[in-house]
């Protein structure tokens, strides 16, 4: 008798987004798994419509499986059988016909009937002696869930319940999902969808857990409890590794950790180039717990404190006091170094406010960030009050996201000064010289940078969104994710333009997107005139090491001409070529992604 799943080792390849190697058990988390479904009786006149609804959901599921199957990389075609069998189960009489019969005979809704059919099959499978066959119920469950999802689309399960050391396998994780992850339990995660710079990826980097995304069919190919090796350096995921492979990866794991700590040990040293130019290397943060990492890795302050977490975590809106306590704690720990707090960057979809709770067609272009705040001034004011109050306890800078032009900036400033007056009247202490700046992440703001620079103390270039908006690429859409290119010449020219505007107006300018923490990008950003970088803490040691290993003069000489190159691939190839000559050791350790 076969034991376990009886499957042999197979390797999937995705996009490596968060470094490190882990070996552990798979936990399939279907984020759209429907837990609550409604049971109701159907009137005779509506029965045929209900059956039609079920058939449509089956049809949609079939289309989805076909897309999955056709999108399978050549190397995995051998596994397409799994999807074929799912397709057969989808149309199987025990599931399909049985459900239709139940809707008809018992006059119940499709979800209920389907669930009943599944339970019946489950019962029969449970009685099968052959463990290999009885486990195939997993396939039936997978198909049932897919149909249910297409029937309702109810999405409210929780990741917070996970309480053993596992590797999460999911179709996709939203920032909300990742914020629920219990990082002492979750070793890392892999997803079907997503690109290098999806929010989930960014969160994972912050959490310092290895992650591979864009695997396309991981949720179909990995079984619950199977042993996985996730290589966050190369993007490889090995399912059911044999003993030899496990030993090999344990060895690699060890080497990776050793090199990482050798760099981290000297991370307290200032980031000064060999020819004496100091670069501020700061930390991006998402939640309070990360403040320790920001210090530990030798940051020169927090360059971006994303303030969304408290809003995502709380059921209603967080109170001013809650926000203030959180900000104050971060500010006090980081002081005297500055903490830049970015005001709310959430979309209306994240708030359960009746008026805004409708789904937007294009959330990225919708009511979010500063637009949302200007339309909901009370929410905005509460946050500004908390930020101002925290400024009394250290050095705080406030930053507005998604500014598209001067009018928004003026409107935001007006509310800001109104809040200050309010605090004055109440005699509440705050830093009167607190610096105020904006994110440059919308192309129109790049074009208007010279004007905007007259009204702020600093610019911070949010490259992730700027790339998305400038190149019209949805970075979580796996079909176009490869066109999300930090090295696109248009983007580099935009950064150059923003730096020039900032230098002319004598204000500070930094980069706080993923680019700032990408070892490959350091030389080019320095050459463009950036002298402040803010990144996930875990990237700080290696970025500092790079800065300490090069001269600004060489960076300018090497990368000054990059703006003349015409395509992203040309730029990338050129930059990689120069960087690997400058930093052969890092290249060898896999830190420079060609």
């Amino acid at each position: 008798m076969r034991t376990g799943t009886g499957e042999s080792q197979k390797t999937l390849r995705g996009i490596a987004v968060s470094r490190g190697i882990i070996i552990g058990k798979a936990r399939l988390v279907d984020r759209s798994k429907v837990k609550i479904f409604y049971q109701y009786l159907i009137g005779d006149d509506k029965l045929s419509r209900e059956i039609e609804r079920f058939k449509e959901a089956v049809h949609t599921t079939e289309d989805q499986l076909n897309i999955l199957k056709n999108g399978m990389p050549e190397k995995l075609k051998g596994h397409a059988f799994i999807l074929d069998s799912h397709m057969m189960i989808l149309k199987d009489s025990m599931l399909n016909d049985a459900t239709i019969r139940k809707i008809h005979d018992e006059k119940i809704n499709a979800e209920w009937a389907l669930k009943k059919s599944f339970e019946e099959i489950k019962e029969i499978f449970a009685q099968i002696d052959d463990e290999y066959i009885s486990k195939r119920i997993k396939d039936v469950e997978n198909v049932t869930e897919r149909i249910l999802r297409n029937l309702s689309g109810d999405k409210h399960p929780s990741l917070a319940e996970i309480n053993e050391r596992v590797i999460i396998v999911a179709h996709e994780l939203s920032p909300g999902d990742t914020s629920e992850l219990n990082t002492s339990k979750v070793m890392g995660f892999i997803t079907d969808a997503g690109g290098r710079t999806s929010h989930a990826a960014i969160m994972a980097q912050a959490l310092q857990i290895p992650v591979v995304v864009g695997l396309e069919a991981a949720t179909s190919l990995v079984a619950e409890g199977e042993l996985l090796i996730v290589d966050g350096n190369t993007g490889e995921v090995i399912i059911n590794p044999d003993e030899e492979t496990i030993i090999e990866y344990q060895e690699r794991q060890l080497q990776h950790e050793e090199y990482k700590s050798s760099i981290a040990r000297v991370s307290y040293l200032p980031a000064v180039t060999l020819d004496g130019h100091a670069i501020a290397v700061k930390a991006n943060m998402e939640f309070l717990e990360e403040v320790a990492a920001a210090r530990e890795f030798g940051s020169d302050g927090v360059g971006l404190y994303r303030s969304e977490f408290l809003y995502l975590r709380s059921k209603g809106l967080p109170k001013e006091e809650t926000l203030f306590e959180d900000y104050r704690e971060v500010v006090e720990i980081i002081a005297p170094a500055p903490v830049t707090i970015r005001t709310l960057d959430l979309g209306a979809d994240k708030f359960a406010l009746e008026a805004e709770s409708h789904r937007e067609m294009n959330p990225a272009l919708g009511l979010r960030a500063i637009r949302f705040c200007l339309q909901n001034p009370e929410i905005f004011k509460t946050q500004l009050r908390a930020i101002l109050r925290a400024s009394h306890y250290g050095t705080v800078r406030v930053m507005f996201p998604m500014i598209s032009g001067l009018q928004e900036l003026l409107d935001a400033k007006e509310i800001f000064s109104h809040v200050k007056k309010e605090l004055d009247r109440e005699k509440v202490a705050y830093d009167e010289n607190m610096k105020m700046g904006i994110m440059i992440e919308i192309p129109s703001a790049v074009t208007m940078a010279e004007v905007l620079a007259q009204y702020v103390d600093f610019f911070s270039i949010g490259t992730n969104d700027l790339i998305q908006y400038a190149l019209a690429i949805d970075r979580v859409n796996e079909h176009v994710a490869h066109m999300y290119q930090p090295f696109h010449p248009a983007l580099l020219r935009m950064i150059g333009q923003v730096v020039d505007a900032a230098k002319n107006a004598e204000i500070d300018v930094s980069v706080c997107g993923e680019m700032a923490g990408d070892p490959l990008c350091v030389g080019i950003l320095l050459a463009l005139g950036i002298d402040e970088l803010s990144m996930n803490s875990r990237a700080i040691p290696v970025i500092k090491k790079i800065i300490r290993s090069i001269t600004l003069e060489a960076a300018r000489a090497d990368f000054g001409s990059v703006l003349d190159l015409r395509t992203a691939n040309e730029v990338r190839a050129y930059v990689y070529d120069r960087m690997k000559d400058l930093l052969p050791e890092l290249d060898e350790k896999g830190y420079l992604d060609a």
Binding site: F81, M88, I89, S93, Y132, I133
Partner: protein, 91 residues
């Protein structure tokens, strides 16, 4: 209506697992006739991959195939061939 009945012995190492069951269903899709598989006194619909799996047929199992319909003879020949080829598996 034509009906053909025959005994079939499963002789591949893995028995009628998911892939083999899928091949039986796929074969059936080419014929008009309907297949019923019987083990002991339990008979199941041979066009359902799940039903075939629940029959649980490891190597050495003897099952009875009953095929009803115009092209039942050809279907039976195809089924025998599939089982004798060990569902295309090496062992």
């Amino acid at each position: 209506m034509d009906e053909v009945v025959g005994k079939i012995k499963i002789n591949n190492d893995l028995g009628v697992h998911a892939r083999a069951a899928a091949k039986i269903v796929a074969l059936g899709n080419k014929f008009e006739s309907r297949l019923y598989l019987k083990k002991g006194d339990r008979e199941v619909d041979g066009s359902s991959i799940l039903a075939i799996l629940t029959l649980s047929c490891p190597k050495g199992t003897e099952i009875a195939a009953r095929i009803v319909g115009k092209d039942s003879a050809a279907f039976m020949a195809g089924l025998r061939e599939l089982v004798e080829r060990k569902f295309g598996e090496a062992k």
